[in-house]
Subunit: 345 residues, 2 copies
């Protein structure tokens, strides 16, 4: 039994405690809305170079902690570090999002290899280690990876997509081939996350940004099933680890996702009904979310009312205050300060 | 009491009957995947010219009925006919989607006027009239409009959006101004739809493509509330009319949407859980949906399995077979034929 005084609030919430005020961190809290981030970003080469530079990645991870005193730091990295480290080179064109040489047929998978994977991600593990050393023990350190389905969409589409037609056609029409990609991702994500845990991550968040585009049975197969395997393997290997799943856009399927995957906490997107989640998923699962990032841009009384409503709705249940999606670059930093004051008043 | 033999299957389903096979139509069944559509489209000027040309709009509406024998024809038109007719000019750049001179502040609303609105939409009403005359009585005729929230997003953003930041900032930060736009749309949509009904539309579908981007309380205010007013006014004026709502991406909020707006049927997007909808919304609401359009591109056994699963899940409840979103242009026409055979075998 840990001493509750020494246990970070985020972990207490993930252990099922209802805290008032709740612990708070924000997705993409280290990012372009902060001038100090933009400065470091400008000094790095490409975006992935920043992710692979332990000193710089540590610095940008810590910046919002210093500025706002969040209850958790989340490793600064990117979900596409994994395919890149597997050999499918990822580039970020300025202002355009990621580009990969897409996997379209069985032969294309030969580019993927676990040889060299650990060497490639070791910089990320070093960042985690430096972060844990730099952070106050009251601040939890969150590691993360993309969920297999979401990472696979980029690997098959080769970029962000509007309708996911290419990856869906593969998943629906050639499920054996798509399963092979998913299996590789489950395996690599497991190694990657075990390394993060062993270097100091106390919580893992699995980002499934495109969970919301699949029909029910395909959601079961490509979102829930691989996540379940990954979570159960992580928990078997490191029983202490707490895992938050973020099945963005899952709607009512968030219930099956929570019940079947074995996660401890579920992050809810902004359009998810928080009252439904409290009724359906609490207290068995710790809820996280789900302020609309655009309310953080708007600020003022609209922001205050929305914060109050979230706190009111989640009163008495295990809860972590967060956004429903990442902070957007045009967010005024003073609105984040106002948010923190409102949550903690 | 209508004679059931003479009542189109779509109306029987919307009256609460469970039919086997269910009536079937597909969103965007008249469209670019059909060579005969592309031919007419090439002969029209701009896209809105096609919508305002009764003969051509009638022809493209009828094409898929002739080819596949769907149970319903849906008026060929566009949800942006309404702002265009209100005076906010809409253009469609080739392959780029709509462009409007965006409404950003109170003064901008002065462009909107009801003078000339009826003259502008009369061509659409004429199309409806010609369609009703051309169609066999067994084929239902569906009219439609965009829901106020979704149409307003285009009017404020000026185009399609990725994050709806501009329209959300107005709705959250200046709700009085945004309400004024919504009120104008409720009023104009009412007139527009009454005209469609009086010219022969037997069913109205309200497309709320961006219903899924709002947090719960904002969904209540900007999606449910205006839809409820529109539906109740339509039903008060024309008690016979059947109305289908399509709150795309609403997730669990689809329940509140159905219960509060007064619609007869609810169209479900592909990622919505059909089993949840059957459990939660049947038989009070007729369900419609929700095959993933990409399965129609994929074809083969994956398509057959998905069709069978939908029929199995909705057995015994009032149901209309449809897609969860519009047909995509790369759909092979023969897959639509295979779909129809599977649904009706």
């Amino acid at each position: 039994m840990r001493d509750p005084v020494l246990t970070p609030a985020l972990l207490r919430a993930l252990n099922g405690e209802s805290l008032s005020p709740p612990p708070v961190w924000l997705m993409r809290q280290a990012g372009r809305y902060l001038p100090e981030y933009r400065e470091v970003r400008a000094s790095a080469g490409g975006f992935l170079d920043l992710c692979h530079s332990p000193d710089k990645a540590t610095e940008v991870t810590l910046q919002p902690i210093r500025r706002y005193g969040f209850d958790a730091a989340i490793l600064f990295s990117d979900i596409l570090v994994v395919p890149d480290a597997l050999g499918q080179k990822v580039t970020f064109a300025e202002g355009e999002g990621p580009r990969l040489n897409p996997l379209r047929k069985a032969e294309d998978l030969s580019v993927l290899s676990k040889i060299g994977f650990q060497d490639k991600v070791r910089t990320v593990w070093r960042t985690v280690e430096q972060l844990r050393q730099a952070l106050d023990p009251s601040v939890a350190l969150i590691g993360f990876a993309g969920s297999p389905w979401t990472v696979a969409t980029y690997m098959v589409e080769g970029r962000g997509s509007k309708d996911y037609a290419v990856v869906k056609k593969m998943a629906y029409g050639d499920p054996g081939l798509f399963q092979a990609i998913i299996d590789i991702l489950v395996e690599a994500s497991f190694d990657y996350l075990i390394g993060q845990i062993d270097h100091g991550a106390q919580v893992i968040q699995l980002f499934d940004s495109w969970a919301g585009v699949l029909p029910e049975t395909e959601f079961e197969r490509w979102v829930i099933a691989p996540t379940k395997i990954l979570v159960s393997r992580l928990k078997a290997a490191r029983p202490e680890i707490k895992i938050i799943g973020f099945p963005k856009g899952a709607g009512v399927l968030a219930e099956a996702y929570a019940l079947e995957t074995g996660i401890d906490g579920i992050s809810l997107d902004s359009s998810q009904s928080l009252s439904w989640a409290v009724k359906t998923l609490s207290p068995r699962f710790t809820l996280q979310g789900n302020l609309d990032p655009i309310l953080l841009v708007t600020g003022g009384p609209a922001l205050e009312r929305a914060v109050d409503r979230i706190l009111e709705t989640t009163k008495g249940v295990p809860f972590i205050f967060n956004l429903g999606h990442g902070i957007v670059p045009e967010t005024p930093p003073e609105n984040v300060k106002a948010l923190m004051e409102r949550v903690r008043r």
